[in-house]
């Protein structure tokens, strides 16, 4: 510690510790603790705060998890987010692989830039662009009807298609970048050697490429799932009233000033994300230090 004092001086150390401490405490831990505290207390008018009814209870969670309506939405959010993750992975893997193999060419550089541009556009606007295509009178329905595939418009929005397509579209980059980073470090000679030994292409990918990309894969899957499950703008625009998302429940409670219930929902969302992380790490047998770089 004396050497740190030498290095930074009293003022520097004061800055470092106060700033980090305030950040940790005031911006992160205290809000989180208060929220968790809220989640375990009933929703009461301020006069009853500290009164006999203001005690810790699981009532909020019972509503979140046992109410049929909520349950459906919670489960839907889970499977839809998993589906989004899987679809993203399937869509991105070939692209990341191709880009990584061509990394030396100038074309790959342009492709990489082209890849990033759509993601500089606001999330809301990206979802809005898809709304234009998928809405009841949108381009897709117009085209499909004029081609005679369907006789009346298909309700993409209320049938969850919109949300899933939109979520995949919105968070692609978070799958592609870690995959690309992981695949880029793969020695191309390994692939050639495997091919030389007569392995079919799918075996090469299963035996050589995928194991190498595992940390990137885990990273991409975790981040994509969490962004999807925690997304609010996309379901708001691309999911109709018939296909609510879990985050929308949180917002509804927030708007209804029932912050205790909102906190309970939020708590469940965070737990869901944590569980997903643990499952992915266990499935892929990676450690936290492999993923968080």
């Amino acid at each position: 510690m004396s050497s740190a004092l030498t290095r930074f001086g009293r003022l520097g150390l004061a800055y470092i510790f106060t700033a980090t401490g305030l950040w940790l405490l005031v911006l992160m831990l205290l809000p989180l603790i208060v929220t968790i505290d809220y989640a375990f207390r009933p929703f009461l008018p301020p006069v009853d705060w500290g009164g006999p009814n203001d005690r810790y209870t699981f009532d909020n969670f019972a509503v979140v998890l046992l109410n049929k309506f909520n349950q459906t939405i919670f489960l839907k959010t889970i499977w839809a987010s998993v589906l989004v993750t899987v679809l993203s992975l399937a869509a991105c893997y070939p692209v990341a692989y191709t880009l990584a193999r061509e990394k030396r060419s100038g074309r790959a550089r342009w492709l990489a830039i082209a890849l990033i541009i759509p993601f500089l556009v606001n999330e809301l606007l990206r979802a809005f662009a898809w709304q234009l295509l998928l809405s009841y009178k949108g381009l897709f329905n117009q085209v499909l009807m004029s081609l005679g595939f369907i006789s009346e418009p298909f309700d993409f929005i209320n049938k969850n298609v919109g949300v899933i397509v939109g979520l995949v579209y919105t968070y692609l980059l978070f799958m592609i970048l870690p995959l690309y980073t992981a695949l880029e470090s793969l020695d191309p000679n390994l692939v050639d050697a495997a091919r030389d030994l007569g392995a079919p292409w799918w075996r090469i990918h299963w035996d050589v490429v995928l194991p190498h990309a595992k940390p990137g894969l885990a990273n991409g899957c975790i981040v994509t799932f969490m962004l999807a499950a925690g997304s609010f703008a996309v379901p708001q625009l691309l999911g109709g009233t018939g296909s609510l998302w879990f985050t929308q429940l949180i917002y509804n409670q927030f708007n209804a000033i029932n912050w205790n219930m909102g906190a309970a929902y939020a708590f469940c969302l965070v737990i869901l994300c944590l569980v997903f992380i643990v499952i992915v790490m266990w499935l892929l047998r990676v450690r936290l230090s492999d993923i968080a770089r």
């Binding site: 740190a4 030498t6 290095r7 930074f8 003022l11 520097g12 800055y15 470092i16 510790f17 700033a19 980090t20 305030l22 950040w23 005031v26 911006l27 992160m28 831990l29 205290l30 809000p31 989180l32 208060v34 929220t35 070939p94 692209v95 191709t98 492709l111 082209a114 759509p118 500089l120 556009v121 606001n122 999330e123 809301l124 606007l125 809005f128 662009a129 898809w130 709304q131 234009l132 295509l133 381009l139 969490m226 499950a229 925690g230 997304s231 609010f232 703008a233 708001q236 985050t247 949180i250 917002y251 927030f254 912050w259 906190a263 939020a266 969302l269 965070v270 994300c273 992380i277 968080a292």
Partner: protein, 280 residues
């Protein structure tokens, strides 16, 4: 074998083409619809070219006000996040004490937290702790809690390659710790500082989830857009999107050009040095 390989390469190309079409087509459609005379944003039917919707957007006072708030919030977030992120980075990269791993996990955790949870907990905490209800300042605090982490990671990446003996040398020559920071550490961190400022501003400017819960009655650009999208969408919103994309591309382009220019300058300098060395 040859044929198979060519087929494989063709498939890869075709797939890449499709993929990029998927990425860009919706955006082009959205942009193009801004120029249609139709009263709803669409390309079919095409009712003729117009700039009318840009004019409509231009005259929307709420839009300008939201833009102003976004700038205000963005600048505040930049200042706060740089301050906090730099402190975190200095702490993480210089103090090799026990508990470092735990501290790191805590400081990185916000980026893994769903944005709406951060927003909600910020709103709850400030309401409870200080009876402050949502306004732009709370949005700044909520956003900074995780944007600081991005800044910290950028600074840490640069500090990792920092030769600490430079600081010691400066101290040894009589500089006070503060002078060392301003004359040695900060100049070294300058590129990271630029990246961190840019990233923090963009992140803040784009943020919707966290902001929605903590901003109260104020309105940043994403909040404004979301409001517009909820009720009676007109192509004016496409015009706004078009302008934002143009602005983003312009900013990105100038950033890239500045970088290229810097690189070229440093390369020509090293060539000059090589020349001198060869002639001496």
């Amino acid at each position: 074998m040859m044929l198979m390989e060519r087929l494989g390469r063709f498939c890869a190309r075709a797939y890449l083409g499709l993929f990029f079409a998927y990425l860009f087509a919706p955006l082009f459609y959205m942009i193009a619809a801004a120029f249609n005379r139709s009263s709803v944003p669409t390309l079919s039917p095409w009712r003729g070219f117009t700039l009318h919707w840009f004019a409509v957007a231009w005259q929307d006072d709420r839009l300008w006000q939201a833009l102003g708030t976004s700038f205000l919030v963005g600048c505040a977030v930049v200042v706060l996040s740089i301050t906090l992120g730099l402190a975190g980075a200095l702490l993480m990269s210089r103090l090799k004490a026990r508990g470092r791993g735990l501290l790191y996990a805590l400081l990185v955790a916000p980026v893994l937290m769903p944005g709406i949870v951060i927003g909600l907990s910020t709103a709850i905490f400030w309401d409870r702790a200080a009876q402050v209800s949502g306004f732009w300042g709370l949005a700044v605090l909520g956003q900074s809690s995780f944007i600081s982490t991005y800044c910290m990671l950028i600074f840490m990446a640069r500090l990792q390659r920092f030769d600490e003996t430079l600081e010691e040398a400066a101290l040894d020559l009589g500089a006070s710790p503060r002078q060392v920071f301003w004359t040695v550490t900060l100049p070294y961190l300058r590129p990271a500082l630029f990246s961190a400022v840019a990233l923090a501003f963009i992140q803040s400017f784009e943020n919707y989830n966290t902001t929605l819960f903590s901003i109260g009655i104020d309105e940043t650009l994403p909040i404004y857009i979301a409001g517009k999208l909820r009720v009676g969408v007109t192509p004016a919103i496409n015009a706004v999107a078009c302008a934002m994309i143009a602005a983003t591309l312009l900013a990105g382009l100038s950033f890239e050009l500045a970088r290229l220019y810097r690189r070229k300058r440093s390369r020509s300098r090293s060539r000059r040095i090589g020349h001198q060395a060869a002639s001496s």
